[in-house]
């Protein structure tokens, strides 16, 4: 059994002068306080990578900074899926009896710690060094290729995708830590600067500074026990050139395993935390995971299905699209919000009731998938 016992997220946006270690330290100390655990209780640590501080040993860098004495420490690296995969790995360490309390932490100054050109260049490097990067492909271009294919296969429109950006912005407006809170319309998304067709500027998440941390424990430490009930991963390819013809294959494999290990089904879920690097990322996840019909994620968002008062609230902090995206901390922020909602501690953003939630992230270009089911047991 593994429980998400501690959570913390900083504000996302600009944290000038603060590097990855300082940002991660802030989130880690806040997560320890949230869990009510002394630092001596933590015996495992999985740290995310930071593009602004590409260290070989971020796990022990953070252990030293936090004065932890650990039985396990390392740095995890599967792109956007890193936070999700690290939480699942923490569960495995606990199940194996290797650790009792594992700190998962990510954060960096991706926005202010480097130029935008440097950030885009580093990100484009997930492409193939011979057959993709030299052609001038970028991260938005890789996702644009998937988006164009998605629109072709489903008949959905660019306006449908824009609905998801509008929804994330509306949710972010209710969170004081969100980077982007100015209300947004579908027309504004459609009129924003083209980046790589069919993606416009406002189909893309921003680049941010920030950090988040989650503590995974062998037993609950607080009043509300949030159990990691099921988990699944799939790693189908690295490069978009070798992506399976079925755009949702990796997501479906990972989710099917997560639901099977939880003994639950997609229909049982009452809250979602889904990776939303670009609007098509979110649309594809919603549809292939069974939370919307093919091509209808945008329409369902427009009709309120994924709003706070809807049947299946989604990314109530605003997601990567509007809360922000500082790398590994980006998806950890989804998890923090989901746990906060499940505890009933989300204040003005609080959903009616959410005893079961599904969280899912991808890294690369739908390359690495990690998803898990959370269940409130007390």
């Amino acid at each position: 059994m593994a429980y998400l016992s501690g959570i913390a997220v900083t504000a996302f946006g600009k944290h000038p002068g603060r590097g990855p270690v300082a940002l991660m330290e802030e989130a880690a100390l806040a997560a320890l306080a949230d869990a009510g655990l002394p630092r001596q209780a933590v015996d495992g640590l999985i740290a995310g990578y930071a593009t602004t501080y590409p260290h070989l040993m971020m796990g022990t860098v953070m252990a030293e900074r936090l004065s932890l004495r650990l039985r396990h420490a390392h740095q995890a690296q599967v792109g956007g899926a890193t936070g999700a995969a690290a939480i699942i790995l923490a569960r495995h360490l606990i199940a194996a009896g290797a650790c009792r309390h594992v700190l998962v932490v990510g954060g960096e100054n991706r926005l202010t710690g480097q130029s935008r050109d440097d950030a885009l260049k580093i990100l484009a490097g997930v492409g193939h060094p011979v057959h993709e990067v030299p052609l001038g492909a970028s991260i938005p271009a890789y996702y644009a290729l998937v988006a164009a294919r998605y629109l072709h296969e489903t008949g959905a429109s660019e306006a449908d995708l824009a609905e998801l950006a509008v929804l994330m912005r509306r949710h972010a407006a209710a969170h004081p830590g969100a980077q982007l809170t100015k209300p947004l319309t579908v027309a504004e998304v459609l009129a924003s600067k083209p980046i790589a067709t069919p993606l416009k500027f406002l189909d893309c998440c921003p680049i941010s500074d920030g950090a988040a941390a989650v503590i995974v424990s062998a037993e609950p430490t607080g009043a509300a026990a949030i159990r990691l009930a099921g988990w699944g991963e799939a790693h189908t390819h690295q490069h978009v050139s070798e992506m399976p013809d079925d755009l949702g294959l990796g997501a479906k494999i990972a989710a099917a395993q997560a639901f099977a290990t939880a003994g639950r089904q997609a229909e049982d879920m009452r809250l979602l935390g889904l990776y939303d690097s670009f609007t098509p990322t979110l649309a594809i996840f919603l549809e292939v995971l069974g939370f919307a019909k093919p091509g209808e994620a945008g329409a369902a968002a427009r009709e309120g299905r994924f709003s706070r008062d809807g049947a299946l609230p989604l990314n109530l902090h605003g997601g990567l699209m509007s809360y922000g995206h500082p790398g590994v901390a980006g998806f950890l922020a989804h998890v923090v919000e989901v746990v906060r909602q499940m505890r009933g501690a989300a204040g003005q953003r609080q959903v009616r009731d959410a005893p079961l939630a599904y969280c899912h992230a991808d890294g690369g270009v739908f390359s690495s998938h990690a998803g898990f089911v959370l269940e409130r047991v007390a």
Partner: protein
Amino acid sequence: MSGPMLQSCRTCRHGWQFQRAACPACGAQDIVAAESGGGGTVWSVTTVLRAPLPELDMPGGYGIALVTLDEGPRIMCRSAPGLAIGERVQVAVEADGMPRAVPAGSELEDAGSG
């Protein structure tokens, strides 16, 4: 100009692009290089208007397509403007080393006029 280079498995005839010592389909290690005929179909396409490197930026952007070659593999190419998903194309590797996809038949017109 020549066709894109592929890898081909002599055991099961599976073909692919990226360098590998073993066939992704059957695992055999009897691999040969094979030049593609260049004929294919557009699987997806985008026009990049914000390049990842400033020196790549160009007015009107540039096309990048994923083309499923007739031999089976899907490869990334620079593409002519206005290509559509499902369109038949001809892919050739140009002097700068980049594979470029143009509408099938148009490469013959270019040759005739040049």
